[in-house]
């Protein structure tokens, strides 16, 4: 250590301070930092970023021999297993990138002292949130785009060509992933320690995926399970994605025989509000006076 520090410039006495950075510009600076750390965490890259790719690969490999799904009576037509599971995997990716990622990430940062340290700096919680939401958006979009590329070129799945389908994709995706991000921030308050975060969060995420039509064909689930799934956001994200990627004929298999995109929007907006309020109410740099 050489203790040579430039003293405070004489022109700038201790009482006078430069203006603080704006909340938004600090938030943008956080996004870059957050993304860098996201891709350095092996756990996150595997269990959040790559997981939908792995599951799509497994489902395609496991069930392709059983032939297409939704075939005509004579066995022709229908869509491949991969094509059928793609919307569910996209929805799962949104849930993982938003909810699972942030709930575990922030609980970990609370547990290891990162939040306490940040709480002692002039960083606003708002800028911190912008950094996290930005990280989720960038990594979530990257994940979805890669998933579509893999689906198209590795699994030879035909993608929609109609622009309105892609408009639906865009709003379902953005609304869903942002909703999941805020729900993740809110859920991060639940684990009592950073170490227990995965054990608390992953079962929730896993159960949701099973009942919401990600791993199991939604129309094959019992009515009551479909109704339970309807209380949570993943079912609506998966339904919105099916509306984009499955042929129109599949709408008849939905619970009410239609894609119900209006209901998808309403359900996700309600959960967005729940996430926003939950984040606002539960987020603390440290557990004060615990």
């Amino acid at each position: 250590m050489s203790a040579t520090l430039t003293p405070r410039p004489l022109s700038q006495p201790a009482g006078h301070r430069a203006a603080r950075h704006g909340l938004f510009s600090l938030g943008l600076a956080r996004i870059g930092f957050e993304i860098k750390l996201y891709f350095r965490s092996t756990d996150t890259v595997f269990f959040t970023f790559l997981f939908p790719f792995i599951m799509l690969g497994i489902f395609t490999a496991a069930f392709s021999a059983q032939g297409n799904i939704g075939t005509d009576p004579d066995g022709s037509g229908g869509i491949s297993v991969g094509a059928y599971y793609l919307p569910g995997m996209l929805a799962a990716g949104m849930l993982l990138s938003g909810l699972q990622n942030l709930a575990i990430d922030i609980a970990g940062e609370k547990g290891d002292g990162t939040l306490k340290r940040l709480g002692g700096t002039p960083l606003s919680p708002l800028s911190y949130f912008i950094g996290k939401i930005g990280q989720v958006l960038v990594t979530g979009i990257l994940q979805a785009v890669l998933l579509l590329i893999v689906a198209r070129f590795v699994f030879d799945i035909a993608l929609p060509t109609e622009p309105e389908k892609w408009v639906t994709f865009a709003w379902v995706f953005l609304l869903g992933v942002i909703t999941c991000a805020f729900l993740g921030i809110a859920l991060s308050a639940l684990p009592r320690s950073g170490r227990s975060a995965s054990a608390v969060v992953i079962p929730i995420v896993l159960v949701l995926q099973f009942i919401s039509g990600v791993y199991l064909q939604f129309n094959a689930l019992p009515e009551w399970m479909q109704n339970v799934a309807g209380l949570f956001p993943l079912k609506w994200m998966a339904q919105g994605m099916r509306a984009v990627f499955l042929p129109e004929g599949f709408a008849a298999q939905e619970q009410n025989g239609a894609w119900e995109l209006g209901l998808v929007a309403i359900a996700l907006l309600i959960w967005l509000v729940v996430g926003l309020v939950g984040s606002r109410l539960t987020f603390r740099w440290i557990r004060k006076d615990a």
Binding site: M1, T6, P7, A19, H21, L37, G113, G120, L123, I286
Partner: protein, 298 residues
């Protein structure tokens, strides 16, 4: 000091967690540019006190002013003026030292140059190493670097040199002296009494949530606690020690009485550590008087 208001003013501060009083009615001021050490055993209330001043915890009673504001309600502009080195850091540390310093520098309106801070804590060669790959002592240096990167007017150091080897500790002391010379006010807690004596102008001793002594480093415990100690082994082989203002006289007397050189003769001037231990033990024994002076053993 100067006539400007104190950097830190603590008045009748109390903090309880349920029925447990962690901090019990303590008061002290820290002047601008002063280095003040808060000493005391583990669990005495040092960290509770410092975390109240840092704005992390709410107080139960009393008044606290830090850089002119109540930390419980102070905003981001206030946080830009303080620097905090927390007691423990266990960050997973996937960022490199340089990335972490650059990022934290970007949070402050008037940061120190990153390369300069890197050099000041002796981590130039580790700049591109991820923090979790550093040794415990090196990670602690990162903590210190992050605490000073924002060019704080007031720096909190909660046991800053834990895990430092002796050389690193001395280098750290040099760094703190530089910050002092620049006018930084420093609140330090430490278990290393040499460190407190080296760095601080004044110190307060907290035991059981109470401030049992406060004063300039060379006045702690009162004059009586500084009375030199003469220790020797008498003719029967028993160890004897006694406090006296005139150790040379006592030693001469002993030599005359014994007619020979007293065995294992020592004249000891109490160190800060001796005085501190005397105060803490005296308090633990339930005595409220100045106990260090009465510690004469047979």
């Amino acid at each position: 000091m100067t006539t400007s208001p104190p950097a830190v003013r603590v008045s009748r501060l109390s903090k309880s967690y349920g029925p447990f009083d962690a901090v019990n009615d303590i008061s002290f001021d820290i002047g601008p540019g002063e280095t003040f050490a808060l000493l005391g055993p583990n669990g005495a209330g040092k960290s509770s006190t410092i975390e109240i001043l840092e704005g992390y915890r709410d107080r139960s009673e009393g008044d606290v002013t830090v850089l002119g504001e109540d930390p419980q309600h102070a905003g981001l502009d206030w946080k830009a003026r303080i620097g905090i080195v927390l007691q423990s850091s266990g960050e997973s540390g996937n960022a490199t030292v340089l990335e972490q310093l650059r990022h934290f520098a970007s949070l402050y309106p008037d940061p120190r140059p990153v390369e300069e801070v890197l050099a000041a804590v002796g981590l130039e060669e580790k700049a591109k190493t991820r923090i979790h790959r550093l040794s415990g002592g090196q990670q602690r240096r990162v903590d210190v670097a992050l605490g000073i990167i924002g060019r704080p007017e007031l720096l909190f150091l909660d046991e800053p040199t834990t895990g430092f080897d002796p050389e690193a500790r001395h280098q750290f002391w040099d760094l703190i002296r530089t910050l002092k010379s620049e006018g930084t006010t420093i609140l330090l807690t430490t278990h290393n009494l040499d460190e407190a004596a080296e760095l601080s102008d004044r110190a307060g001793i907290i035991v059981g949530g109470k401030l049992i002594d406060i004063g300039a480093i060379d006045e702690l415990g009162g004059p009586a606690a500084r009375i030199p100690l003469v220790r020797w082994r008498d003719a029967d082989g028993a160890q004897r020690e006694t406090r006296t203002e005139t150790p040379a006289g006592l030693v001469a007397q002993l030599a005359r009485d014994l007619g020979s050189e007293p065995a294992e003769l020592q004249v000891i001037r109490p160190s800060l550590e001796d005085i501190y231990l005397g105060l803490v033990r005296g308090h633990a024994a339930g005595s409220t008087s100045d106990t260090a002076s009465t510690e004469v053993l047979a």
